[in-house]
């Protein structure tokens, strides 16, 4: 297994490097000249050339890419002399529009994004697994059919539509909830909670529906397994048959899917944060797109890709822990 893990980590490093290269190349080709942005409105061609040289933009692609990688590992300095700006490691780039390093910008907004992501994940995991179990137990009854209908609805509703519906009903019409604002938890836990309820629901609905279906299907499949017949033939009480023999095999795949989904949330929360105006990383990405602030977009893209790749490896490792067939070779 250690050999396997080493291979896995090497593969992960490879994919991350490729993601960096690909992203960097795409933005290198597509993005508007950063020198123009730095220069500002009253600008002369000579000044642009100077800035370009100053920032190393005149150098070939590979040189620039290597200094970007260097920045990731050990930080870098943009420009020279009085105008030089420091970007500490891990440096994901520097936004000349906001005069801030991308890493700092992400750090400032990460707590909000994390709150949205973790809350939604807890919500969908609970709702999804519980309703999936109910669906499996009540398989074929009207309860199951109603739940199937609801999950199809949950899968189909675009989250910005749901966000607008919820806001209109709960905030405008019924006035049960305040309009979401990122209130820090320490300030007022009650308001913090009320403010995040809608974002959590909106982000969680699609996932909850998918997890309901996944859990239901897995449990129903597991109930057909021969070892369940063995457990019943042993005379085990139904609750033991369920708890020990049905749930563990049925929920193992859910755990792994959850790891992947959670790792991909940075991209997934973009719409939710935008709709509710929550100042998280996703909203920052959307705003940067509007402002054409390419270093920020690239930084967020890379970060999100890092999460997915690392999530992949974590899931693999977790799997070796929870599934003895992987953990202990025959």
């Amino acid at each position: 297994m250690p050999r396997y893990l080493v291979g896995r980590l090497a593969g992960m490093a490879g994919v991350l490097l490729l993601v960096c290269l690909f992203t960097y190349a795409v933005f290198f080709l597509l993005s508007p000249d950063p020198a123009v942005q730095v220069c500002g409105k009253s600008c002369t061609p000579e000044r642009i050339d100077q800035i370009r040289m100053n920032l190393g933009l005149d150098r070939p692609f590979w040189t620039q890419f290597l200094s970007f990688l260097g920045g990731l590992v050990s930080g870098r300095t943009y420009g020279e002399g009085a105008n030089a700006v420091e970007c500490a490691a891990p440096c994901l780039g520097y936004s000349f529009q906001s005069s801030q390093s991308v890493t700092d910008m992400i750090w400032q907004r990460l707590p909000v994004s994390a709150t949205v992501a973790v809350g939604a994940a807890v919500l969908w995991l609970l709702v999804g697994v519980v309703s999936g179990l109910i669906g499996a137990v009540k398989n074929g009854t009207w309860v199951d059919r109603v739940m199937t209908g609801l999950t199809l609805g949950g899968l189909s509703i675009p989250n910005y539509v749901l966000a607008l519906v919820l806001q209109f009903v709960l905030v405008v019409q019924l006035q049960w909830l305040p309009f979401p604002q990122a209130v820090p938890f320490g300030e007022d836990p009650g308001r913090w909670f009320l403010n995040f309820v809608m974002p959590w629901i909106v982000l969680a609905v699609g996932y909850a529906a998918a997890y309901t279906r996944l859990t239901r299907a897995n449990v129903i499949d597991t109930l057909q397994e021969n070892f369940l017949r063995t457990a019943r033939a042993k005379g085990l009480a139904p609750h033991l048959v369920w708890r020990r023999h049905a749930l563990r095999p049925a929920l193992t795949p859910v755990v792994t899917v959850f790891g992947m989904d959670f790792a991909g949330l940075l991209g997934g929360a973009l719409i939710t944060e935008t709709v509710f105006g929550l100042n998280g990383v996703g909203k920052m990405a959307a705003d940067s797109i509007a402002k054409n602030d390419q270093p920020v977009i690239m930084g967020v893209t890379l970060l999100a890709a890092f999460f997915v790749v690392i999530g992949n490896v974590v899931v693999d490792v977790v799997y070796t822990v929870i599934d003895p067939r992987v953990r202990v070779a025959a």
């Binding site: 994919v15 199809l152 209109f168 054409n292 977009i297 893209t301």
Partner: protein
Amino acid sequence: MTIAPTELEVELSADSGPGGPTQPVGPPPAASRPRLLRALSRDVGAVLSATYIGLIVLMAVFAPLIVMVSGWTPYEFDQTAIDPNLGGVPIGPWGGISSTHWFGVEPGSGRDIFARIVYGVRVSMTIALAATALTTALGVTFGLLSGYFSGKVDHAISRVMDFLMAFPALIFMIAVLSALPAGNRGSLLVVVISVFGWPYLARIVRGQTMSLSRREFVEAARASGASGLGLVFREILPNLRSTIIVMVTLAVPGYIGTEAGLSFLGVGVVPPEPSWGQMIASSVSWYSVVPTYFAIPGLFLFLLVLSFTVLGDRLRTVIDSGEAR
């Protein structure tokens, strides 16, 4: 000898006669097309979904005719339908729904919502269908190749798939689309969606191809002289038909949603060309005053996605039950 083993075998075989007490020896016959349709036609959800999809498709096809009847094109500004003193709020209840504007008008501009819905679906459907077609072509081809030719080919394709799936597709799509010139957004959308979408189909096709490749009929074909691509497309592809049908039906709503989402974020279809996602996006600042403005396109969008999802779900149920081994 009273009973020859031949008779025994006939007696025990699957077609020993109707209602016989023997269990079928082989797997049940594969779901054929007419059987599929018959099973689906008994399902209320599937019928309703298919009907709605049919109506929407007709609406898209005959959009110019429909708009002639309703009287307004999607690009006309009707200043008489909005109140300039109130910042352009539609005149009349329910967002200005009236006999002239069936679904009301856009706040601020006074454009006819009905006409924009009718035209908006053309964009959404075209993009979703084109993206589905491209994704399916890519996904099936690479999935088949990867699943059948294990080793280097599989390794290379799988790495590309891993790489694409590791990408935060939404952010990246937004970034790329925002950076590219707005000239031909429609085809760009299709290409970008497909490039990031095919690995998900390919992964499933790959898995099925791998398990089919282990079936003896593939070996039998090889022993018959088949090799390489001929074997893949003649022997394996027909067995993937059901999978592909289901995947396609489920991909369409996904891409309708993606297109709407990208338009909602402002990197999709370029105004003034209407699209449902974009209509919902522009309704965000009005939702408390003119709820119909987001409710109508929202409902149309939701129902369309739901219909495809239900149809795909039912298709899968029918196919799974008919082909359970």
